[in-house]
């Protein structure tokens, strides 16, 4: 499987044609995605499906539902529970310590993929006794990963890594108290999924749908070019209440953008920001 990528190659011009085609046959606008990453994902699909470039174009136009499959496969859905454990510690000390005085804490996990981040947030909320006044919206462009997110069932072999992450975040609790192991799966406890909703949202084309006290969008913006990033940051700014928080991935910064003037930096390493005007 690892070798798949190198067998197929398309040019950047062919990629542009494909982006144009997708825009015409579907609602998906990929023109703001970083080209090289997208190119690799497209080549991956071609290798998986044993298609050449003409086959792929043909399928996008003529095969019903193919473009949905295409979107599912080009999005990068790599995620884990308590990825960057220090980030989750900072959520407690820097973010929830502030938001706990708010009557309601609405959280948007944008680009949540298979939901591991949403359940991690839910655990942190529970540990801070904030479950009852909080609500998490998990959104993604990919409907298939959202089905996994709703189920909250993960392969037990991944749980070892999640447990290691969790133990760095909080060595006083047992991670195993948050799930039930059954055969080769770990099922997230019912009380952790009370106040959450998973739904489709396309950051490239959709708009504000609620007001939030916290937006978490980690390792999504690296796949967007500066122009699309600008759109998304404006969307986040408009979706946040005053003094609401924005958390990005460790390699994702607001600094390239004008909107950064309306935020203060809470933590530079993990790119935690607070809207101040």
């Amino acid at each position: 499987m690892d070798q798949l990528n190198s067998n197929v190659n398309i040019s950047f011009e062919e990629l542009e044609d494909l982006i144009y085609l997708m825009k015409n046959v579907s609602d998906y606008d990929l023109s703001g995605y970083t080209k090289t990453s997208l190119k690799r994902r497209v080549q991956r699909i071609m290798a998986l499906e044993k298609m050449d470039y003409m086959d792929l174009k043909n399928a996008v136009v003529n095969v019903e539902g193919f473009y949905n499959y295409f979107i599912q496969e080009i999005t990068v859905n790599v995620t884990e529970m308590f990825r960057d454990p220090e980030f989750y510690s900072l959520l407690t000390t820097e973010v929830f310590s502030y938001l706990k005085t708010f009557p309601k804490i609405k959280i948007w996990s944008a680009g949540c993929a298979t939901g591991e981040e949403v359940y991690s947030l839910s655990i942190v909320l529970k540990e801070n006794n904030l479950t009852d006044k909080s609500f998490i919206y998990g959104t993604d462009i990919n409907s298939q990963v959202l089905e996994t997110a709703k189920k909250g069932i993960y392969p037990i072999k991944k749980v070892k890594n999640y447990t290691e992450n969790f133990n760095i975040y909080n060595s006083n609790e047992e991670f195993s108290t948050y799930y039930t192991a059954m055969y080769d799966a770990a099922i997230i406890n019912h009380d952790l999924r009370k106040n959450m909703l998973f739904s489709i949202h396309n950051l490239a084309t959709d708009n504000v749908f609620n007001e939030f006290q916290l937006i978490v969008c980690r390792n999504v913006l690296i796949y967007f070019d500066l122009e699309l990033q600008k759109r998304v940051f404006t969307l986040f700014y408009e979706s946040l209440c005053l003094f609401g928080f924005l958390c990005l991935g460790p390699k994702e910064t607001l600094y390239n953008h004008e909107v950064s003037k309306k935020f203060r930096v809470v933590n530079k390493t993990y790119n935690i920001y607070q809207k101040i005007k």
């Binding site: 970083t34 090289t36 990068v76 790599v78 390792n219 690296i222 796949y223």
Partner: protein, 189 residues
Amino acid sequence: MLGAAENVILIGGSAGSYDLIIQILKALPAYFTCAIIVVIHRNSKYETQIESSLSSQLEKNIESAQDKGRIKQNWIYFAPPGYHLLIEPNKTFSLDQSEPIQFSRPSIDVTFESVADVYGDKASAFLLSGANQDGSNGIAHVLRNGGQAFVQNPAESKMDVMTKYAISQNENALICDNKKIIQYFSTIN
């Protein structure tokens, strides 16, 4: 664009390559017009500070490649652990957290292929010691796109799996002794 590098030299290495990379960086002239991009495998769980310590130690422009950052002359960039390092057609960096390739992220293949796509014959690549097969496809892609590719002599590689494999797959790659590699870097301009 002012200061944008027209040529890129790639260095890929894994287990046993670190000391040679330091020697290479030490040998560099005070100013050079290309950019050097280094991809080494390291564990993302332990955020190392190679870039900042080398930067002050060697008094050179060394940094971890930044997402959307420009690729500038006289700079040495390291691929950050836990991400694939890619090059956009507009000659800026982009990071990607898709699945590891050959159990590696960053993957040498991924960065080499991406640089070759954008820089073509303005790209040169060096593959050093390592214990897996990463880098070989990247070397092939650099050569296919008109660039030059050099592989460290396996006899001098602390771990020779990577160099031996790359040589077996790429007959046009040039095999270099450490001395020659260091000399190459001391004379770049």
